[in-house]
Symmetry: D2
Subunit: 293 residues, 4 copies
């Protein structure tokens, strides 16, 4: 069904001074870094990519550029979430038309949605495109928590919803997906500090911005888990956990952008109201990164 697996690297969106304008050459460099380091897929315009803070025109530019720049070296998974069904459908079609391999959909909404509304939202997007959809559950950012039962109902009802990204951080959701989905619904972990346990529970991949900074540790953890080597996986996990905790608490755009700058790639700051990483945070990040190299 799906061949998406492994380390799925999220890209940031580089801005110019004062958060204005896009810096596409820097985006290209960051994509190349990720692919050269060995990630198994590229995911633009997610939370890390500040997709929610772009104008529609900017969103289109980043989507088109990212897909072209990846150029099928690895699969591209484009987050197409938007506040209305019509806008999400437009983005999904745009991504497919420009060559996206998969689109990711979070049921973003201002008003709390009923289960019927969520299902209809996925159905409308599914029917408008031909590529697979990765359903994305992340109540912390979307405000909408989809139960495992609802997720499986959507997977059964909408043919091209074939993958599930779970970001609640609740490992029991993955257990339930595995048991109720009878091992047939591939799930992916979107909560960085759950990386070890998600692989233990059978996750097919890890959606993460961390490979912008520590790709080898992320890849080694995946390899150890796939090899069934629990002791090595545990060691690798605890080594990288301080960084995973740091980027989660500090916010992905602020910490990843600061980290890229520290490693020589200038990608600007996040857009306000999100602050760039404080000086104290930058020092802490530098210290953590130093111990990991």
């Amino acid at each position: 069904m799906s061949t998406i697996h492994g380390i799925i690297g999220y890209t940031i969106t580089p801005f110019g001074a004062n958060g204005e304008g896009l810096d596409l050459p820097a985006l290209g460099q960051s994509i190349d870094r990720l692919i050269d380091s060995g990630v198994h897929a590229i995911a633009p315009l997610g939370s890390t990519g500040e997709g929610a803070y772009l104008s529609d025109a900017e969103w289109d530019q980043v989507a088109e550029f990212s897909i072209k720049h990846v150029a099928k070296r690895v699969p591209t998974i484009v987050s197409v979430s938007d506040l209305t069904t019509a806008k999400a459908v437009r983005r999904a079609r745009f991504a497919e038309a420009h060559g996206a391999d998969v689109v990711m959909v979070l049921p973003a909404s201002y008003w709390k949605l009923t289960e019927a509304e969520i299902l209809a939202h996925y159905r409308a997007i599914g029917e408008s495109i031909g590529v697979p959809i990765m359903l994305y559950n992340n109540p912390a950012t979307s405000g909408t928590d989809m139960s495992v039962d609802l997720i499986l109902r959507i997977v059964n009802a909408v043919e091209n919803v074939t993958m599930v990204k779970e970001s609640t951080g609740d490992i029991q959701r993955m257990h339930k997906l595995q048991l109720l989905g009878e091992g047939q619904v591939p799930f992916y972990n979107g909560c960085n500090p759950l990386a070890l346990e998600a692989f233990a529970a059978g996750a097919k991949g890890w959606c993460t911005a961390a490979p912008n900074l520590i790709p080898q540790l992320n890849l080694d953890l995946y390899d150890a888990a796939m090899a069934g080597d629990l002791d090595r996986a545990r060691d690798l996990f605890y080594r990288q956990l301080p960084l995973l905790d740091f980027i989660l608490k500090g916010g992905l755009p602020a910490t990843i952008k600061a980290g890229l700058r520290q490693t020589g790639l200038e990608v600007g700051d996040p857009r306000l109201p999100v602050f760039p990483l404080s000086e104290a945070g930058q020092t802490q990040l530098q210290t953590i990164l130093k111990t990991l190299r």
Copy 2:
């Protein structure tokens, strides 16, 4: 300081078929109905107005039209929240330029904001306009909960943040605003089923979409509370509570739009993914409204 008080009526945003296009004449009629019924202020583009589901061009049209149509018969309070500080500043300036008396700001965000980020957001908007700002706390829709301490810090730091709309439904927040603000920070209730207790606690007004359907009951409750007549206020409150509960649970755009249709004003349906009110819901609404007339 502020003269905003009483029943602050929220407007819906009428759409054409399939949620496409704006129906400004219908918007004008709904505004006239509210003003003719006696509400003390008009608030376009709030949650009820599906502000989050409009394109930027549509938002501008609705803001401009609403302010012009109200034409200073009562104050207009325009919700200018947006996901980036730059966009919220743009909307605030637009609203002021077109004659808004007050702008309302919810710290909408995709990423959880720190207190410093929220304060900077309000400061940036405050410094860009001259009209007063009503700070709006509603974690259920914004994902960000501002403590009373933070709210008062913002009120003290940003000169034109002079009013607070509290929608958590937690009456203790209002107590704390009253005690810590030493009675000098006017607060407004944004949680319909808390109307009675908010007035008991000293709220200056009630921000509500209910006067689209039952303006006289809303106004009478306000009058009874201002007259200090607790028994009459309690009776009036319990009479209208079933409707207040119904519109809260059913979602404001869906229930208010259905109710307007039932009273002869066609304003279309909410935009997907939000469903229009189900047939069962319409029947229930009709029954409730019948008992209230």
Copy 3:
């Protein structure tokens, strides 16, 4: 049906040095103070009375002494909650046999109870006694939250469950009790900082330890609410709110015992692990009390 109303004063349980032994004479004095000040009922062995920290023999002594000492000057409402149904039944029978007018029952449990288990618990107690039962909902201490629907089911199923004490602090529960109970189920407020709004919503009484320290303010608030005088009720409420907040946050046994000591009645300290009020807390309490006299 029930004539219980007004200010229902909770008694502390005075201990000797190191929390050992009971000081019944001091208990008698504290009861006399409450009755002399005008409270409408006395409630021993509640949360304030550290009922959960007494041995069975001590519990029996306090129950018997309290009922005798009140001597029908006002009704006595004895909390008979215990961890097993058999033990709660024993306490209920004991209280009735010694003259309690009402028994109060919290579904205390170690294991989370199902609704059927809670109903059976109330039924077993109800069938074993003849006096009325005040059902008590307080998830913060019992770990079990009873929905309004469940509460009304119990009221309908168990003849002598005729009153409801609600301590969640959620005013919407009282609204629902009023609406679904069609005004026929008397409810009492057990959340001190909700006193004003509970009376606004129609509560018949206020279960509180505050009259150990500020009986007149509590009684005046009740009188103003009964007279329908909202402005006076609001003023009285905000005057006493700092004390109500203080005793809630500091813990009732620690703060009330410290306050009684400050007013000349030595009742010992709470039993460990609960600490007596810190020195800083004692100073703060003294300051608050001074402004209220």
Copy 4:
């Protein structure tokens, strides 16, 4: 420091008809079954053992009998939690005097405790005995949630608090214990459906009532985890997960007692208000157990 490890089997407490009286011979049989099946330690009087529902005399009998009956074949870990510090100290001393190897302490309380109160509670117990203490965090039953920071402060402050049982089900707590405790604070998992991930994260043992019913599967999972064989551990975990979920949802005393009856050991029912397992539940349990043998 501590040699406690592996599968720590919790015992039920068998009652006579109507929950009256203790059936010590049946308790002896259930202990023998556990030890014969290979568990690494026995833990009487925990949640499963309905310790909270026993009289003091019964508690003493069960503690004394259990320790004697285990007779050092494996270590005995006695839960000595009680609502006052004085009572918990008494139980701890009693357990030590009768030969307990370890005592387990949950900060059970009626009133929410401050961190200082919790620390003083552990200190008082620690100073009164010589055997090691396993600190037990389970907010679902105790109402008190101890942060990892507080737990480590207690471990550092009280010499004989040397082990931590974590039952929140939040794997991040174990990560933090491992990182902040620098691998020197042995932790044990008390949340059945977290068994796989807790071992992945480095837990030294699993405190569970499941070996009353499926000891070999529990032991095999532990062995696979210790051998670092992730694939085998995952397979074993998912095989037993339906049972682990079932006993968690159904309540340990009700489900384990029903399961023991199904396997030929009559141990009576739980004490009311806790219901015995329903007939539908018994059928479901039988079906699950059949697939596991």
